[in-house]
Symmetry: C2
Subunit: 211 residues, 2 copies
């Protein structure tokens, strides 16, 4: 019913326009994960385009992991976190030595940045709670650093890191064993807020001799 009838979408491909329309529609209506989108036929009619064009847009968004479609039911918003996207990209990119190096390099440096941010910003209580968690919980390396990046309290780094993490994991590199002690030591140095020591411990944990 609502007249989402577009801005004159000149020149660009229809399906791209539809993607944009969908985004503003999602924002406008405040759609959240789990919510249903209008049906393909309704979108087609509302936007004044063919159903096949609507489908091209929806399929693209689906491959991106932004939406989910269930036959007979409809199309739904999804709780996206890059998963789908990263997985697909990684299968395509493959064998690109430099890309792989970039991913590793970037992931490590951002983790280091977050450690630095924690030293600057985190409260004593947060760090102690983190320490407590590390002693009790059963966690993987990803879990551990997700906590780190979360503690750093920077939304952008969080998002970037999550994507890098997924991408990194999809690379299927040899996994580095990190002992409980190493994690514990890192936390201790965080609590002591010793910048250079944190860097040292982190590099050691990541088996980074120098670079």
């Amino acid at each position: 019913m609502t007249p989402y009838v577009n801005p004159p979408q000149n020149n660009t491909k229809v399906y791209i326009g539809i993607v944009k329309q969908l985004r503003s529609m999602i924002e406008h209506d405040g759609l959240k994960p789990g919510d249903r989108l209008p049906s393909e036929r309704e979108l087609s009619e509302r936007l004044g385009v063919g159903r096949s064009s609507v489908r091209e847009a929806l399929r693209a968004l689906e491959l991106l992991g932004l939406i989910e479609t269930r036959r007979g039911e409809g199309t739904f918003m999804r709780d996206f976190r890059g998963h789908q996207l990263v997985q697909l990209l990684s299968t395509f990119i493959l064998q690109d030595k430099k890309s792989i190096r970039d991913v590793k390099e970037t992931k490590f440096l951002i983790e280091l940045d977050c450690l630095w941010l924690i030293i600057q910003k985190a409260g004593e209580d947060q760090l102690l709670r983190f320490k407590k968690w590390s002693l009790e919980a059963d966690y993987s390396d990803d879990d551990f650093f997700l906590e780190i990046v979360t503690l750093a309290d920077n939304h952008l780094f969080l998002r970037i890191w999550i994507i890098l993490k997924d991408y990194y994991n999809s690379l299927d590199l040899e996994t580095m064993m990190v002992t409980r002690e190493q994690y514990a030591r890192l936390i201790e140095t965080l609590i002591s807020r010793n910048e250079s020591e944190v860097i040292r411990v982190y590099r050691n944990l990541r088996k980074l001799s120098k670079s």
Copy 2:
């Protein structure tokens, strides 16, 4: 001609199957950026599916930045290196427009990371060429740091930084005046490869007292 007719692709959606077929086709034929893919009609025939399904797959890959289509010419492989990944990310970063602080913080830290990378990896000649450029050219802060990030030779950081830069500029913050001397000093410390000094000079340049 070649019978790419693969696994019966049961159960999954046709367009997903086509994406997979395309990937193996690309791998099998060793297609590189710039190379042309078979036409939609040919793919449709080869894979025994409808052209609309082929299009759904191609449109999705296009939105991902893996391929590029030109009307009247065809569909071509694209030079992808994870950049689209970040670009996609940006459209969602831009959604939560809350944290200006995060943008600044992230931009600065990434610039610092790049400076560190340069110290580690850049060759003497590159640095000298950079210095020469800085003495002759007329550049803005963005120009200067674009050089920095480029020198760091990390595609992901480059992409992320560009997005952050654009976003940062759109925030319309008070611009910080940076003198030519400060840029020059930064370059000098880079050439001397003095890590802690680079950090100090950079912070000073960005007017970051401590954090």
